[in-house]
Structure formats: structure tokens, C-alpha cells
Symmetry: C2
Subunit: 351 residues, 2 copies
């Protein structure tokens, strides 16, 4: 069992470090990316770089993504990470046709499951799925949760340009609520319909485009009324909540103004202000944001029980950041919630 | 002189309230908007609503935008605003052809100048200009600053889809640095190349689209190297810095990673990390964000001397918000800087 096996390592500092937005990619998936001819400038920008650049960063990311054994465990030990919650890296299955995507999800889940079974105290899995066909996605989610013991579902932004607020995807959310597993909404590059002004200035990726597109996606899901229909459904978003906690006041004010004036007659009237959903249906990780001001801000606005640690390995593998976060001047009980106990609860670790 | 005339009103609370992102529109400009046929979904969404909706919100905004006399002064008195720094409302001139735009700028500046001259203790002007033709824009900026006594330049997002990081616009920035006046980068609706995923979910306007597009625009300007070329140039952005202070850690990390790996060979290598420009070349107002957590966050990250008060009248005319901000639990000297003295310094009020 996770907690029992790891407790020795946590004694000195009083908490385990559980990293909750960590990525892997089977070699076969990277090969699919390499061969893919897609009219998606964001995909081409991102994977053209990682698969084509001779830079140290690209080489390191590509090598580490594929490893679920020695190098990853050594990196975790070196940086002090007790446990990783791992997902198929973005965009996962979501750039392929439905049949290819469904097959990739099954293979990726099987590969991740083997690693989790080999190192159950170090790894927890998230279910990859192909949202293209929601009924088939639900079947793979059920297999992942019930048979493989995975604890969340990964959703990587848009699928071939389509956002997942559309009602045809809601069976996925119904299943996740029924299975009591959260959906991790991970960034993807902004879709073709949005990316051009980001791309031409080198701002399409993790530097900015990922964040605003994922914030938009989360808002679209909230504004679609998904959480009024499935009030127990939980999402997780990384990167300090993709800045949505910071936008909370304006979101409430202007969304309320828009609803009162019926500026968008096709949009449903929500039961609550947007901030309600952020603090009842959304967990936040600090992936990519090893920075006390933003973490504390999220704890204050969304709730200290809703903010979780993540490293974003191997995209942001920085031992220094772990030390910085250890040294945060926040109450010790909040630090333990952040690094350990919130993740144990949300992902039902050790159960 | 502004400060002397107003000091009586400030005695009880110890500071003047100077609102720094306030809007007006000559009736003739609204008439131009009404007649304009433009392939710009963001403009059509925004002004289709304000000029077409029977809602209380739209009617109030349209009426109050046109008033630079009795109603505005009464609203200021009712809500406790001592002074407004006023600009032609977005998108200003920037949806018209170059000749029409230049003529509109001159007319708007003349109309605003008359109001400032009639109420010098209550109003300060920002210069409207047509960036289409930078040389002509510079001439109008010089007239506005030297002859009309205006204290800043308003730039409303993209001009017909084009962002203002392009070098052909740099003569405007050179002039602003030489004249020592700041550029207020105000939101516009996201351009056609970006807006679709926002628009279809009712998130294109002030609720979210404005913010991320203005953040993108500010980042594009920073990443173009404008501030390496004109290091004394100052920008102002509203809405709690369009969330850029919140993104600061990730911006520095990922922009640095991109520069080191030369992911975008066409982008210049900046002399400093992005955070340097945010705290040396950018002022922030809290327009639309009457919320202590975000204001304090900006003060901490960007500097307490760089955060200014704004109401966003008449788009966000809320007397309650003034009281809320008066009651912020921040040091009294920071509150006075926020409401009064930062604005006096940045806009050289009373001088």
C-alpha cells in the first residue's frame, strides 16, 4: 500500500511529495506523432520542435517521456518525488482518427498499467481515452478504473479542433461522476481557429497559449452547464488553475452581466456564478508554477483543500523547484495538504 | 490645479480617488460604428450588443459613454470619484480605414479637450490616434500632448487584425518615449484569427476574451524587443494586468526555455526575462477588478508603485466597488498610492 511503504521517506519533512501532472509516452505514440500529417499548426509547432530539435531540452523530454523504469525512478529519487500520478502526454490520442485513437488509448493504458503494477508505491495511472466516440471512451474509462485501478481520466484540450463542452461528450462526464474519478483537463496547443496570433510571436506553447486555451476550455465546460447536470463531477486543471482563480472576480461580474442582459441567447443560464464551480468542481495543481505567490493565491481563492502539487515531469524537471516549494512560508498543515493529503484524497491513493 | 482644487474632498479619507481607465464616445463615433460593415466577428458581437440590445446594461453604457458633462459628473460625485483619466472607447479608430480613422481621432481629441478645459479638476485626456499610418499617428500624439495637454495615448488592441508589435508601429513608441507619455493598451475583442472558440461559447468579450487577447498583445510587444529599443517607454494595462502578473513565473520559465533552445529562430533574444519588463515598463490598473486579492497580488509582484485605480466607467459603474476598495486591508500609504499618487505621477496630473 502506497502510504505505508513510503512513510519512512516522509518522516524527516513530515509529508510525502506526490506529483500529480506527470507525463509519459510510449515510443509507438511518438512514432505516430512523427508520421502524422495534420492541418493543426499547434501540433506541428509543438511536436515539430520536440521531435526535431537538437536542443538539450527537446532531447531530454523525448527520452524521459518514454521511460517508466530506471531513469524516471532515479529522477524521482534525485528530486525527492515519492509518487507520480502519470498520464499519456498531450495531445495523447486526440490528434488521430477515432479508430487509431481508441487503439492508442488501450495500448497506452496497458503499458502504463504494467509500470504501475511493477512500482505500485511510486506510480498511479490516469486513463487515456479517445473522446471521439464517447460510448467507446466510456468503456475504456470503465476498464481503466475497474480493471487497471487507474484513478483519473486525462483529457488533453480539443480533439481535432473540437472542445469538450458539447453535449455529445457528456456521457464521458456522466461515467466519471458515476465512477467517482476526476477528469484532468490538460493543455493542448490552441486549435487552428485560434492559434495564429500566438504562433507568429512564439507564444503558442506552454509560455502562454496552452494556459489561455485550457482556461477557455474549462470555462466553456462550466458555461455549458455540465456541472449543473453532474454536480459531483470533479475536474483538475494545472498551471495554478490556468489563471482562472486570478480572473474570478471579472468572470463573475461579466458573466453575470452577460446573463442578465441575455447577450448570448443560446447560452444556458447557470445555477451559480462561475466562482461556485471553481470552488466546488475544480481542483488545481501548480504544475509549471513553482511559485508561492500563485499557489497561496489559489489556496485562498479556491480553497486550501483544492490545491495539489505537480512537477510537470519531464517538461519541467527541476530539483530546485522542489526545494523552493519545501521552503514556502505557509502553515505546515497546508503544505502537507498541498504535497500529500489532497492528492491522496482526490486520487484515492492506497485504496 | 487639480490637486489643490480637490484637496478638500480628500481630507476625510486621506486620498483622492483618481480613476484611470474611463471611457467616452462622441455620438458621431457611435454612429460610425452603427453603419460599419466589417468582417470582424468580435466587433460585431460587441457593438451589435451595445447598439442593439434593449437591456438596461446596453442602454446605460451607450447613454453614459456620450456624456462628458452633467451625468458623468453626477455619477462621479455619487460614487466618490474625484478625477477621471478618459479615453475614446475601444476599438476607437481602429476598425476604420486609415483616413476615416485619422479624422475620427482628431474630432474625438477635440471633443475631449473641450470637456477637459471645462472641468480641468475633474478630467484628464488620453490621446486618440489612428495607428494605421504611424507618421500621422505621431503628429496627432504630438498635438494631443503639446497642444491639448493630454497625458497618455490610448491603443485599443489590434487594428483591423494587426497587432502593434510590428516594427512599422515603432515610431509611435519612439514618440511616446520622447514625449514621456505612457501608452494605455486597452482591450479590443480578439481578432478574427483567434475569436471563434471564444465567440461560440459567449466568452469573447470582457468576461475572458478581452483579457487573454490584451495579455497576448502586451506579451507580443515585450517579446518583439520594443522595450530593449525604448527602455524608458511605459505601457499601462488594465484588469489587474490582464493576469500577466499571475503568469509571471511560467512566462519567465517557458520563455527562457524557448529562447535557450531557439524554438522560434525568428524571435529576437531579449535582454531580460519577461518579468523585468513587467516591473520596469508596465503599469497596471485594476479596472474591472475591484478585488483585494488580485490588487495585492499585483502590488507584491509588479511593485506597489505600479498599480493604479480604475473604475472602467461606464462599463463597470458600481458605487459598491469604490466602498469595497476603500475598505481594503492594505497599508494606508499603499492605498493612497493606489488611488491617488501613482496616477498623479504616471499621468503628471496638475503639471
Amino acid at each position: 500500500m502506497l502510504i505505508k511503504d513510503s512513510i519512512d521517506r516522509s518522516n524527516a519533512r513530515g509529508y510525502l511529495r506526490i506529483a500529480t501532472e506527470e507525463a509519459f509516452a510510449p515510443a509507438s505514440v511518438l512514432e505516430h506523432y512523427r508520421k502524422l500529417k495534420l492541418d493543426d499548426p499547434g501540433f506541428n509547432s509543438l511536436w515539430g520542435f520536440y521531435l526535431g530539435s537538437p536542443s538539450e531540452r527537446a532531447q531530454s523530454v523525448i527520452r524521459r517521456l518514454q521511460d517508466l523504469g530506471g531513469e524516471r525512478l532515479a529522477d524521482m529519487d534525485a528530486s525527492g518525488i515519492d509518487h507520480q500520478v502519470i498520464a499519456l502526454t498531450s495531445p495523447g490520442t486526440q490528434v488521430f482518427d477515432a479508430a487509431t485513437a481508441a487503439a492508442i488509448a488501450i495500448d497506452a493504458n496497458d503499458e502504463l498499467s504494467a509500470a504501475v503494477n511493477a512500482h505500485p508505491d511510486r506510480y498511479t495511472g490516469m486513463v487515456a481515452m479517445a473522446p471521439h466516440n464517447p460510448d467507446s471512451a466510456v468503456r475504456e474509462i470503465e476498464r481503466g478504473v475497474k480493471q487497471l485501478g487507474f484513478k483519473a481520466v486525462i483529457l488533453n484540450g480539443h480533439t481535432l479542433g473540437e472542445y469538450h463542452d458539447a453535449q455529445r461528450y457528456w456521457p464521458i462526464y456522466e461515467a466519471c461522476q458515476a465512477l467517482d474519478v476526476p477528469v484532468y483537463l490538460h493543455p493542448n496547443a490552441p486549435p487552428k481557429a485560434m492559434i495564429q496570433p500566438f504562433l507568429e510571436s512564439g507564444l503558442d506553447g506552454a509560455v502562454y497559449g496552452f494556459g489561455v486555451d485550457t482556461g477557455l476550455h474549462m470555462l466553456r465546460i462550466i458555461c455549458s452547464g455540465v456541472f449543473d447536470r453532474f454536480p459531483k463531477l470533479q475536474f483538475i486543471i494545472g498551471h495554478a488553475g490556468e489563471a482562472l482563480p486570478f480572473w474570478q472576480y471579472r468572470l463573475d461580474y461579466m458573466y453575470g452581466a452577460g446573463q442578465r442582459s441575455r447577450r448570448y441567447p443560446h447560452m444556458p443560464l447557470l445555477e451559480h456564478p462561475i466562482s461556485h464551480y471553481l470552488s466546488h468542481n475544480v481542483y488545481i495543481t501548480n504544475s509549471g508554477v513553482a511559485w508561492q505567490p500563485a499557489i497561496e493565491f489559489c489556496q485562498k481563492v479556491i480553497g486550501v483543500e483544492r490545491v495539489l502539487y505537480a512537477m510537470d515531469y519531464p517538461y519541467q524537471f527541476q530539483a530546485d523547484e522542489v526545494r523552493t516549494l519545501d521552503e514556502m512560508t505557509i502553515p505546515a498543515e497546508h503544505k502537507k495538504m498541498f504535497f500529500q493529503t489532497n492528492a491522496e484524497r482526490v486520487f484515492k491513493l492506497g485504496r
